[in-house]
Amino acid sequence: DTAVSQTPKYLVTQMGNDKSIKCEQNLGHDTMYWYKQDSKKFLKIMFSYNNKELIINETVPNRFSPKSPDKAHLNLHINSLELGDSAVYFCASSYSAGGSTDTQYFGPGTRLTVL
């Protein structure tokens, strides 16, 4: 059974386009995250939602807009795509008892290529 799933797995698009990545988790977790992994494999948090409420918003361009329709889903919409947005985007989730020890479970990633 897939715990954290993302669609699509690959996304190739032109500069200036708008695209969305979807994430779903069936773990019953109440906190979800988006991470960006660049070409050097550096992983950086972008956003976090707890019970559909935005709680972490790192210094990400406002072209990126997350949306959480319910606790099990967290989507990422990107407007006016730029070459520098090319990366692998990971969704993650955790059951948040409200501590640093909450294990984050990652999805398989979406490789976004902007041409």
Partner: protein, 114 residues
């Protein structure tokens, strides 16, 4: 400012050898230190983690050593196997109300040669 520094960037170890990856952190607010393992084309997965009040944690062939005063921690993989070939990330975590924030090191690409 990179809050978690990881070295080496890449590592080649012979099968049966010991792989050692080192990390250092700056922010004393971090209170949990997990290691994640990532295989090509997959998402990172938790491997092992340690709290700062413990100096060592062992799970099978994987051991974390933690030095709170030096703000350093390391991962040791004993009897390294080709199946251990992956990218390893150290991380440091701080918790808030309803979430945890992970700050990752830059990763170490481990190759275990047969």
């Amino acid at each position: 400012q990179q809050q978690v520094k990881q070295s080496p960037q890449s590592l080649i170890v012979q099968k049966g050898g010991i792989s050692i990856i080192n990390c250092a952190y700056e922010n004393t607010a971090f209170d949990y230190f997990p290691w994640y393992q990532q295989f090509p084309g997959k998402g990172p997965a938790l491997l092992i983690a340690i709290r700062p009040d413990v100096s060592e944690k062992k799970e099978g062939r994987f051991t974390i050593s933690f030095n709170k005063s030096a703000k350093q921690f390391s991962l040791h993989i004993m009897d390294s196997q080709p199946g251990d070939s992956a990218t390893y990330f150290c991380a440091a975590s701080v918790g808030g109300s309803g979430y945890s924030t992970l700050t990752f090191g830059k990763g170490t690409m481990l190759l275990v040669s047969p």
